[in-house]
């Protein structure tokens, strides 16, 4: 059951990224209007983080070739995310972390 939810998370994550990036890439003015709505922007960010957590947990589960998801998959996924995000933050000049402060 949980594995099914995680599979849905992968599909949702890819769909959300592709949709948002297509909107921003092809019609920047629509993105400007749409993504500056604060409640939408905040809830989308929370949603994408949840969906990504599911995705990375699922990917780690499949990486270890296991059929059931375990807590250690989630923990490894979280660590990989933190390290990877720190790397890309550093590479692109800390855009997310500087936006928090």
């Amino acid at each position: 059951m949980l594995v099914r939810v995680l599979n849905v998370c992968v599909v949702l994550f890819i769909c959300m990224i592709v949709t948002a990036f297509s909107i921003a890439g092809f019609t920047p003015e629509v993105a400007e209007n749409l993504f500056t709505i604060s409640w939408l922007s905040v809830s989308m960010r929370i949603l994408i983080f949840m969906v990504w957590t599911g995705t990375v947990t699922n990917a780690v589960r499949k990486y270890y070739k296991e059929n059931q998801v375990r807590l250690v998959h989630f923990r490894i996924g979280l660590l990989v995310t933190i390290v990877g995000l720190l790397f890309f933050e550093w590479k692109n000049g800390w855009p997310i972390i500087s936006s928090i402060f």
Binding site: V10, F13, M16, I17, A20, F21, A24, G25, P28, A31, E32, F35, T36, S41, M44, R45, I48, F49, W52, T55, V56, A59, V60, K62, Y63, V72, R75, I76, G77, L79, V80, T81, V83, G84, L85, L86, F87, F88, E89, W90, K91, N92, P95, I96, S99
Partner: protein, 376 residues
Amino acid sequence: MEGIIKGLTNPDSIGDFLKSLGEGLFALSPAGMSQMFADLLSSGAVDAWNAAPDWVQGLLKGLGVGLAIAGAIIGGALLLGIGGTMLAILAGIGALGAAIYGAIVGGDNFNALTAGGIVLGTVFIPLGGYSAGALLSTRAAFMLGTRSHLALSRFAGWAMTKLSAGWASLSGVFGQMKWGAIVGGGIPSLQHFAILLEDPSAFDMKKALVDITAGTLTGGSLAVLGSGFMAPGLANKLKRVLTASGIGGGASTLGDWALGDGLTLSSFLTGALITAIFFPLGSYSTTMANQTIGKTMTSTQKKNLNIAVDVINGFKQTAFTNTFKKPIMNGFHKLGDMFSNGWNRLMDGNVSNVDHTDTEQLQHDIDEKTNSRSRG
């Protein structure tokens, strides 16, 4: 009223007085009293209506229209003999909805058609669903439905087999790589998504695509190596180190090139060098940790230890790259210049690539010296 009082107290003529007296007597009679009372009530109601706030006017208008239409529906249904509790409840809900609509838009913007539409919709949309359900459960509709369902499932089955066959072949080719690729591409996607939602004008599609592609390639490639940090033999170890440094260098070069910094060998060499230093270091520290404090640990504890060591290695490499990427790249640039100059001199005596600032500086120095000599 004022006319009667004026006619009685200060009449213009005797006729006027008599007329006023008659009117006054009539006003005191029951018929006159009730007429006067109704007059007062209606003017009071108009005043109250005018004094009421806009939303109260809207609410009352909505309630009036809603109740009128709901009453008409219920009455019509009763006349036709098809009435029921459900219909009355629906009509009541519709009237309430119309009143709420009136309160929201206010009396000035009130539209009786909309209010009526709300009532009719509340009653007839559920009823329409009921009738449609009755229609669809006929034999012909069932047959049509079954046929379309069969066709759809046939198409879906065809598409799903194709899709799953494609995924299976991809899985076969890429193996463990694809999960690393998803994670590696997902992290920059997540970052650029957050940037997009934080400030849409700061979003850069090209940069996002470059980051995602580089992340996918690196994640996918490192996932294969990741499971074998502790390689069995020196040859395998060396092979892994070389592969990893090649991947690191390749990702760094591609990123710099795609962002317009030019396709340079020094960028590749820098990435490769840094990865080549840190990949074996990471592997070595993992082995060390496992063979010392890891010996007394359970397998879960060991796994956590390895994760911690990997994270520490990641930070070490990031800090090192952050500090030394520029100097190392400049060093490689210098080396490349030296090589190409030397090559040109050897092959065709061409010194056009020699750094011209040096000769200019030399000339400047000479001029300065000759000037000072002549001066002195």
